[in-house]
Amino acid sequence: MHFFNSGLFWFLEGVFTCLTVIGFKIWMEDRGIPMPFWKWILLGIWVFFFGFTIAFIGTNLGEKEPKAALLGGIFFGLFAVITGVGLWRVLKIGKKS
């Protein structure tokens, strides 16, 4: 078993996620953007998809399938960017000036 498929790795991923969520929450508060639960759900879905894209690229590189990594990276990556921009607009709803 390697570090990157060990329990320790996933533990650290969990710690990083928690710290990211706390930091993001404070950042949004400072900008006056409210974060009701539905926004967190939308954000969670997007983060999951973004993570999938990164892992897809990595897995295909590991499998020596550079074409799949490239095409999948472009395809899913573009999708992530477009939906990310859309999501940011949605998150800004209710922003206090």
Binding site: M1, G7, A55, F56, T59, N60, E63, K64, E65, K67, A68, L71, G72
Partner: protein, 475 residues
């Protein structure tokens, strides 16, 4: 509760939860099959798919008419072509062939043309290219031969002599031991098969339709006499192992069947020996050419998987990267049920194997009736002609390498499998096929051929570093 008290209580709760969590972690770590070094070869750690959920009372192939049994002398391509090459003379033509071949070729003149084409057109070109390009594949060939170098002695006696335990081995008696229950025995046999190194194992009630009507030579049967299915061939245990993955993706030249053939063969012989030591009859039917029966439909009956468009059994764990062997026995067992994991629906839209097959042997159309059963039928003559034209290891296996089910066991492919086996609509099948075609394309099938036949000796994927002869040998 004040702040200090709250923090203390939280600390105690966290300590309790953390301790319980550590206990679970330790338990999982203790029983994780990965903790057995070399675990892949035993413990059944790779037979992970929950087959019960997908079990059906009937297999996917349908009985659509009166059934008949295959004739190994003509339907098994190696045998037919071997006999044909040995006995064909230009001056006597078809009249000079053994009777069964004459009869067969009169019924199938197109097949005679294909067999002649191999002998007269393909072989001379193959021999010419062999001298020019063969060096590249020397390590692959050495490795393949090494994997095939160890093999149990062939069974060359009829079932009534070879299948039963000998008295000598058991002292005074060869009476079967009284087993407590068929259920327990099945569990035991599966465990032993895994311990012997079988990646997958399943049990079927033997359907006599799968036994050759005229058997292969060298198996102890009288030549040209129909084989009467012995009464003690009641159950069929199917074992199977995969071919090494990296060379398999570098087919048709660098991969070999010999590795998995040899493993499955040794496992089958050992399992047969185990059963005989319980006092029951057992006969191994093993790759490459020591069978009295057809293995793929038995693997389907035993619930290992479904037969794909390319004719090979597709399993949820290994895709079609599996080389199975069978042990027929009278040891009372509980058969497994066939499974339905949606392969028939997937194959309908996919066709990747057919599009990538250099010889055009895999049908693009629907299933047809073959000896009373409804299934896909590949053109074995075309397939074998391509095999015989190549310079690398014997065989081709491109259809194995390109099949979307033949993927490594990581999160990405496991997730795709999960989606596809649970989708009754077939929508995911089209999406996954589309992604597979765009993301994982192979070379133009013509490039797989040797240069004399208009190709480039291409492989589906580059060979692993340890089979690149040019990196190790001065030519």
């Amino acid at each position: 509760m004040d702040r200090r008290q709250f923090l203390k209580a939280t600390g105690a709760a966290s300590a309790t939860m953390g301790s319980i969590g550590l206990g679970f972690f330790g338990y999982e770590a203790g029983r994780d099959p990965e903790s057995y070094t070399g675990w892949e070869t035993h413990e059944g750690a790779q037979q992970t798919f929950n087959r019960k959920r997908y079990a059906r009372d009937y297999p996917h192939y349908k009985k659509v008419g009166p059934t008949s049994r295959a004739d190994a002398r003509t339907d098994v391509i190696f045998y037919r072509r071997g006999d044909f090459m040995r006995s064909w003379k230009d001056n006597t033509g078809i009249e000079g062939l053994p009777e069964h071949l004459q009869e067969y070729y009169r019924k199938h003149p197109d097949v005679l043309n294909q067999d002649l084409y191999l002998m007269k057109e393909i072989f001379p070109k193959q021999r010419a290219d062999y001298r020019k390009y063969r060096d590249k594949f020397i390590l692959a060939s050495a490795w393949s031969n090494a994997m095939g170098a160890v093999s149990p002695t062939r069974i060359n006696q009829p079932p009534e002599k070879s299948d039963f335990p000998s008295r000598r081995r058991f002292g005074d008696s060869s009476e079967p031991l009284k087993m407590k229950s068929a259920k327990k025995t099945s569990k035991l046999i599966k465990k032993i098969a895994h311990e012997l190194g079988s990646t997958l194992v399943g049990i079927a009630k033997l359907n006599p339709d799968w036994v050759y009507l005229y058997p292969m030579r060298g198996r102890g049967f009288e030549p040209d006499k129909p084989l009467e299915v012995p009464k003690h061939w009641q159950y069929a245990i199917v074992v199977g192992t995969p071919m090494s993955w990296d060379p398999m993706y570098a087919n048709p030249n660098y991969g070999t069947s010999n590795d998995a053939y040899s493993r499955s063969r040794i496992i089958a012989f050992r399992l047969a020996s185990f059963i005989k030591q319980l006092g029951y009859a057992a006969r191994p039917h093993t790759p490459g050419t020591d069978y009295d029966l057809m293995v793929p439909p038995i693997a389907v009956d035993a619930g290992l998987g479904e037969q794909g468009r390319h004719g090979i059994v597709i399993t949820p764990e290994l895709g079609c990267n599996i080389r199975p062997a069978v042990i027929t026995t009278n040891l009372p067992l509980i058969p497994d049920k066939p499974i339905d994991i949606g392969i028939q629906s997937f194959c309908k839209t996919c066709k990747i194997c057919a599009e990538n097959c250099p010889s055009g042997a895999i049908p693009t159309g629907d299933r047809i009736e073959v000896r009373g059963y409804f299934r896909y039928q590949i053109d074995t003559a075309k397939c074998h002609t391509f095999w015989s034209s190549k310079l690398g290891n014997m065989g081709c296996r491109i259809c194995v390498a390109v099949c979307p089910y033949t993927r490594k066991s990581n999160w990405l492919h496991k997730a795709a499998l999960k989606v596809s086996v649970n989708d009754p609509t077939g929508i995911s099948h089209s999406v996954l096929t589309g992604l597979q075609k765009r993301f994982y394309p192979g070379p133009d099938p013509q490039k797989y051929y040797i240069p004399s036949l208009g190709g480039e000796n291409a492989s589906y994927r580059p060979p692993p570093w340890w089979l690149r002869a040019e990196d190790f040998i001065e030519f």
